[in-house]
């Protein structure tokens, strides 16, 4: 991992801060939160992505220290799992719309408890850990999409039932797309053929 030049980091932080403020600006906020898909599939992932990108700008030394404090990648993945699952609860979405305090909690927790821990853990995970996170995330996304499609009643009081179904279908489609992309990357990624000798001698 190469260190990031300080001025580049500063520009990066400014860009992320601007994006964050943009998302928090009332017109953008109400525009994205007007539909369930915009809320769940644009605003929430973007907030987590800001945390992820911000972590990368911290510099290798700070990241290593945070990683050491947290006790390695696994607790961080678990933390991201809990925090991201929370904001998938229909109830949490409703609460965020109804109570400003919950909305603030959402804007704070998604970057710090989902994006940041994932970014810290990611480099340490290796292909198995990443594959495990990806495959689990993808199947959970598909299942959640189905839950939203198949729900017998309105899950969120703040959204119309057809929005719920369209958000569900989007999640299922997104899951399929992500899975295809993940599999596809196995077919193209990677350096040229390595050492042709057998790995284990007699």
């Amino acid at each position: 991992m190469t260190a990031i030049a300080p001025d580049r980091a500063r520009i990066g932080f400014c860009a992320l801060g601007a994006l964050y403020l943009l998302l928090a600006a009332p017109p953008v906020r109400s525009w994205l939160e007007a539909t369930m898909s915009g809320h769940m599939l644009v605003q929430i992932p973007l907030l987590a992505a800001i945390g992820f990108a911000a972590c990368r700008l911290l510099g290798a030394r700070h990241q290593e220290r945070l990683l050491a404090i947290a006790g390695g990648p696994i607790p961080l993945v678990v933390m991201a799992f809990f925090a991201s699952s929370w904001w998938m609860l229909p109830r949490a979405l409703d609460d965020a719309l109804a109570h400003p305090l919950v909305e603030v909690a959402k804007f704070v927790s998604l970057p710090t408890l989902v994006g940041l821990p994932l970014a810290l853990a990611w480099r340490r995970l290796g292909i198995i850990g990443r594959g495990f996170v990806w495959t689990n995330f993808i199947s959970m996304l598909a299942v959640l999409g189905w839950l939203y499609i198949a729900a017998p009643q309105r899950l969120c009081n703040s959204y119309l039932v057809d929005q719920q179904a369209s958000a569900g279908w989007l999640m299922v489609k997104l899951a399929l797309l992500l899975f295809a992309a993940w599999l596809g990357h196995l077919f193209v990624a990677g350096p040229p053929v390595g050492n042709p000798r057998a790995v284990h001698g007699p």
């Binding site: 006790g71 696994i74 809990f82 309105r154």
Partner: protein, 204 residues
């Protein structure tokens, strides 16, 4: 502390905290939606209702408080609704038919409140009442003319109304029970009117 031990310890801590948060946030893994949460909450702590002035299908003006001392079943509707309010109306009728005749009006009353006072004038309310078999006395239909009072009332009942793209509304539908002390004591699913009626008769 070794790296592995630390990892295990922190993972355990995060898991406990995370599960605890979910336990707390979903009322013990029972309420995943705001609607269930509302029902669980009201069962636990009956909620006082704000004062409201209503106007019924015959243009009579009355207070919600006038029903104190009686059990009151409330549904929240709008009269042009072609979907869920019809189910509500049917459910309400089934409940009414199961309340003993001598208790009806004296100890139990039914009230349909419209959240669309602009268009639901007494005439439309009356038409809706006739369509669903309401008698206009023991089962009245009413609107709240004051916008602020309506908002407070909907808030207290936990009913969220949003306009759909066809000039109508989507809203969460349920049957609400207001106790003799004027507090909201229970919210029940509209597809289980018989259970609601049975419970109502029990409390008589």
């Amino acid at each position: 502390m070794s790296a592995v031990a630390r990892s295990v310890a922190v993972t355990a801590l995060v898991t406990v905290l995370g599960s605890g948060a979910f336990w707390w946030g979903t009322d013990g893994f029972t309420a995943f939606t705001a609607e269930t949460a509302r029902r669980v909450d009201i069962l636990r702590a009956p909620r006082p209702l704000p004062a409201a002035v209503l106007e019924d299908q015959d243009g009579r003006v009355f207070n919600l408080d006038d029903y104190r001392g009686r059990l009151l079943a409330v549904e929240v509707i709008y009269t042009r609704c072609t979907t869920i309010c019809n189910s509500l109306g049917m459910a309400f009728r089934q409940i009414r038919d199961r309340v003993p005749a001598e208790a009806l009006g004296r100890d139990v009353a039914l009230l349909s409140i419209s959240f669309d006072p602009e268009r639901d004038d007494p005439a439309s309310l009356k038409a809706y009442g006739i369509a669903h078999g309401a008698d206009g006395e023991h089962w009245r239909l009413a609107r709240v003319r004051d916008a602020a009072q309506l908002r407070a009332l909907l808030e207290a009942f936990g009913v969220v109304v949003i306009a759909d793209r066809f000039g109508g509304f989507e809203h969460n539908a349920a049957i609400h029970l207001v106790g003799r002390d004027g507090r909201l004591v229970e919210i029940s699913d509209l597809d289980a009117p018989l259970q609601f009626a049975a419970k109502l008769v029990e409390t008589l």
